[in-house]
């Protein structure tokens, strides 16, 4: 067995669905709950992991990711138990990456050494903004000072620390963002995630936006300018975008996310977690119960999973297209043929090339700088139907 499961690698995603407060823009599967019985959750995670022992034997694990929600609310023992169980089922790659998403509050910072001892070697912190006014507007419960303090503790604990910012916020100008980005780059170690604010349906921001109450958001044109500025500034600082919203010094890319974007295999456990696993010739999409209570109950009855789905070659092709084109390194056209059974439409490819949206570099298909900002339009052009 090789360590990169058919080129894409193999990862484990663990979802922790709880937060201290729900942010108004967030549509992740996150809930505020007063009482969480961590022992019950450990047992449930282990039960779920166990199911994969027979299904996916002899695999080399490249990455574990604790995502949320706010996984920095997990007890370090919970994290340790999951890591140990995974080690018992699969062989860890020598350079396995074990990441945990952390909120930058003081409470969480206190647990960092515990996570390190459990085996976590990378932390990604949701700092979101570098001014207190905007943090408030984003409904965050920490200040910039607290965030910076937590970040300092984290960098003393871990070699690899990344943080997230959300931009294209209300009243933010391109200049404002460039200044903030400069500051962020001066703090950054080797990885940054920079997300444009997305107004999601079903969130508090989504409702406000519908009612016309979320004012002064940048226009699409301004947001596009901000994106271009982001690429330029980060590039100059040696942190080029290796994906639509992710920047790293070469070599410091998040391995876990690369599994997704390389369309590798990943097991997903915890409420609402998705997985993609290859068994024989079949590629299977897995999904679990979304509501934490339902999930826990289902697991206690034996299985937290919903009916798994076998993906058609077309589904697979379209998923690979959607994921792979996000990467600056490009999509592997030969691998595409392996997955889809057919090559991408030559007519559409040359049309997109003519428009300056994509270019071919050997067997790699890459988006141009111009194409990257309209990736959805490119994907729609190329989708297999």
């Amino acid at each position: 067995m090789t360590d990169d499961w058919r080129y894409g690698g193999f990862g484990l995603y663990v979802h922790w669905p709880f937060c201290q407060a729900k942010c108004p823009y967030c549509d992740f599967n996150s809930h505020v709950s007063a009482k969480i019985d961590q022992n019950a959750w450990v047992r449930a995670y282990l039960t779920e992991l166990e199911r994969y022992r027979e299904m996916l034997p002899d695999r080399v694990l490249n990455s574990i990711f604790f995502g949320g929600g706010t996984p920095s609310l997990m007890h370090p023992d919970t994290v340790a138990a999951v890591i140990e169980a995974a080690r018992d089922i699969w062989t860890f790659a020598n350079d396995i990456e074990i990441s945990l998403e952390a909120n930058p509050g003081s409470v969480e910072a206190g647990r960092f050494t515990g996570y390190r001892d459990a085996g976590v070697n990378r932390v990604s912190m949701g700092i979101q903004a570098l001014n207190d006014h905007d943090l408030k507007r984003l409904g965050r419960i920490h200040s910039v000072a607290e965030a910076k303090a937590a970040f300092d503790i984290a960098r003393n604990c871990f070699d690899r620390v990344s943080f997230d910012l959300i931009y294209a916020r209300q009243n933010q100008s391109v200049k404002d963002w460039e200044r903030e980005l400069d500051e962020a780059l001066s703090m950054a170690i080797d990885h940054l995630s920079l997300y444009q604010l997305t107004i999601e349906d079903g969130t508090a921001f989504g409702d406000r936006y519908e009612r016309g109450k979320l004012r002064d958001l940048p226009t699409d044109d301004t947001a596009a300018d901000m994106y271009i500025a982001t690429q330029e500034v980060c590039g100059k600082h040696g942190m080029p975008g290796y994906e639509i919203s992710n920047h790293a010094r070469p070599g410091a890319e998040s391995r876990h996310n690369l599994v997704y974007w390389h369309y590798g295999d990943y097991v997903g456990i915890g409420p609402g977690a998705h997985g993609r696993i290859t068994i024989g010739e079949r590629r299977i999409a897995t999904e679990t119960h979304l509501a934490p209570g339902n999930w826990l109950e289902a697991v206690n009855k034996g299985n937290g999973e919903l009916t798994p789905l076998v993906l058609t070659p077309q589904d697979r092709a379209n998923e690979y297209l959607m994921m792979g084109l996000r990467l600056s390194e490009g999509l592997d056209l030969e691998r595409f043929v392996q997955i889809a059974g057919v090559p991408l439409s030559e007519i559409r490819l040359s049309y997109l090339e003519e428009l300056g949206m994509v270019r071919r570099d050997g067997f790699l298909l890459k988006t141009t700088e111009q194409g990257r900002s309209v990736l959805n339009a490119i994907i729609k052009e190329l989708l297999v139907d």
Partner: protein, 599 residues
């Protein structure tokens, strides 16, 4: 067979929604024609589309038996008619089949444009009218004012107007008595050759074509052979009957009676409304006057969204046309939209009804192009062409001049909105012909180009008058004007389905408005798109739709694969429903919306 003195034939006419069908319900119910348990509102409006929109589209006939206060038994043949101007033709032919009408006026509204139109038709048909003031149960009812208005505006005696609530049944008995007392009995000769008027015909899946007839002289019997005089075709009558309102078979129908026959006729086109039906041998010599056929005045293209459905569309249109002689069609090819049909309608409502039926009953999604009228094009070589479709406009250098159809429009409106109405008519190149007042209501008559009215005039009229104006029109004839064809170019390619005929003086304004509209309607693409309006080779308006700058999902992780893929696949399927012109996708609604004028 009933003796003439005990027959009364009448139609119920009124402005739209004044309560004709509801009044018919009460007359049917009061006389016990239909059992209470089988009653439903607007019983005669049986088509789905009628029930859904709450309007009558097709006239309906019912025979009811009534024992009057004088103890005599009468047979009443009632025809409920549509109120909408598009179907005015139904009213005029119904009136030809009867001796009188109930003129229903909503006592909360008063005289409206179609009330007037109906009165003119009644006068033309030499016809008795009994005014009925309806909806007296409503608090806003004002019978005295409306009676006065009827006398002022229409000039008929309203002292005997019956006050009715078709909802509660109040005044229904009085209405029945008035019918017997004031409407004339029909005339006719029993022992004469058969002479029957072909009033209407429609297709029934079980019985074939059903022919509605009014017997003038002689007898129509089951089993006899008859001749349709217009084309001298002979038919064997296999059924004779009346509507109550369900079909009820009878052996024969005599003078003054209204009923139906079937004769194994396969197509509505084989019957001509207004025709005279007589005996196959020794029939009557003189035919009835006949009706002027209903002519389509509004034309538009209907194209299937999915071009693979063209044959299905052909079948649907064939079937609908089978039953609707006023609807015309011919095949059309458009560089932009592919294969479809150029269809002719009596008006916009008629267009909407047919389009709805195709979409719903046949499950075909349609692209409808902008409605147009028939232009007369006089060529330099003296030839005259009828232009149904702006895309077919010949080379202007060969054209001598153009004529467009004009109408006489009658608009009734509360005087506070008069200014807005005048402004609207003026904007639409109208020429005022008359302006009179009845109380606080104004009646304006305008000479307008039909072209300016077919599209969104009625919508605009309703919106500037908050729904208080009523409108009726008649075609008057053709007149020369300075008309040109305006083309629209999207990304430098002409889109034939967006071509329109416009008055030269308004071309710039219309062109600008259309380019602006299209700029909003066409989604941004990966490149910038010029949108231009041109006359001949000359660009008269231009807008640029800038390129799409941002369409990317900021965060996409493992859990998103399924959801985001489905979303993109769905969007792509939606994109396919748009029409491609060169590299540009134009959404289907753009073909109509681009022409709507907001101000």
């Amino acid at each position: 067979m009933t003796d003439l003195a005990h027959i009364r034939n009448f139609s119920i006419v009124a402005h739209i929604d004044h309560g004709k069908s509801t009044l018919a319900d009460r007359l049917i119910q009061e006389t016990g024609t239909v059992e209470d348990r089988d009653m439903k509102e607007q019983l005669l409006d049986s088509m789905d589309i009628e029930r859904e929109r709450g309007i009558t589209i097709k006239a309906n006939t019912v025979r009811i038996d009534y024992t009057a206060d004088n103890g005599e038994k009468y047979v009443l043949n009632l025809i409920d008619t549509p109120g909408h101007v598009d179907f005015a033709y139904e009213v005029s032919r119904s009136m030809r089949a009867v001796e009188g009408s109930l003129l229903v006026v909503d006592s909360t509204q008063g005289v409206e444009a179609q009330t007037l139109a109906n009165v003119y038709q009644a006068i033309e048909a030499d016809h008795e009218l009994v005014p009925v003031l309806n909806k007296i149960d409503l608090p806003a009812s004002d019978c005295d004012r409306v009676a006065e208005q009827i006398e002022d505006v229409i000039g008929i005696d309203a002292s005997g107007a019956i006050q009715v609530s078709a909802k509660t049944g109040q005044g229904i008995h009085e209405t029945l008595e008035a019918i017997v007392e004031y409407l004339p009995a029909p005339e006719g000769t029993l022992d004469a050759p058969l002479k029957a008027m072909l009033v209407d015909s429609w297709y029934d899946a079980y019985l074939g074509v059903i022919v509605l007839v009014r017997i003038m002289d002689g007898t129509l019997k089951k089993g006899m052979r008859v001749k349709f005089m217009s084309n001298n075709t002979l038919h064997h009558v296999d059924r004779v009957g009346v509507f109550r309102p369900e079909m009820e078979m009878v052996d024969s129908l005599g003078p003054g009676e209204i009923g139906f026959l079937t004769a194994s006729i396969k197509q509505v086109r084989d019957t001509r409304v207004g025709d005279t039906i007589t005996n196959d041998r020794n029939g009557t010599e003189e035919a009835l006057d006949g009706f002027k056929p209903a002519q389509p005045v509004v034309f538009c293209g209907l194209f299937p969204v999915d071009s693979a459905e063209f044959e299905d569309l052909r079948e649907a249109i064939d079937k609908l046309a089978l039953n609707d002689a006023s609807f015309s069609f011919e095949m059309e090819t458009s560089a932009a939209l592919g294969f479809g049909f150029r269809c002719g309608f009596l008006g916009l409502l008629h267009l909407e009804v047919i389009r709805d039926r195709i979409e719903r009953e046949y499950g075909i999604e349609l692209i409808t192009t902008a409605p147009s009228v028939i232009y007369h094009i006089y060529m330099k070589d003296g030839e005259m062409l009828e232009l149904h479709n702006p895309a077919d406009m010949p080379d202007m250098s060969k054209v001598d001049h153009l004529e467009e159809p004009r109408i006489k429009a009658t608009i009734m409106v509360p005087d506070e909105y008069l200014g807005d109405v005048l402004k609207l008519c003026q904007e639409r190149r109208g020429i005022q012909e008359d302006l009179t007042y009845a109380g606080t209501r104004a009646m304006v008559v305008y000479d307008l180009p039909l072209n300016e009215v077919v599209f969104d005039f009625y919508d605009r009229l309703k919106s500037v008058t908050k729904g208080y104006a009523s409108f009726d029109y008649q075609m008057t004839g053709y007149r020369t004007d300075n008309l040109v064809k305006m083309s629209i170019l999207v990304n430098d390619e002409p889109v034939d389905a967006l071509s329109t005929m416009v008055h030269r003086d308004r071309a710039e304004m219309r062109g600008r408005a259309m380019c602006e509209k299209l700029k909003d309607l066409i989604p941004r693409h990966m490149f910038k798109i010029p949108i231009q309006a041109a006359i001949g080779g000359k660009v008269i308006a231009r807008e640029t739709l800038s390129a799409l700058r941002k369409d990317v999902t900021a965060k996409c992780y493992g859990g998103d694969a399924t959801r985001k893929r489905k979303l993109l696949e769905k969007q792509k399927a939606g994109k396919k429903k748009m029409r491609q012109f060169g590299k540009v996708d134009i959404p289907q609604e753009a073909f109509i919306s681009a022409l709507k004028m907001d101000g």
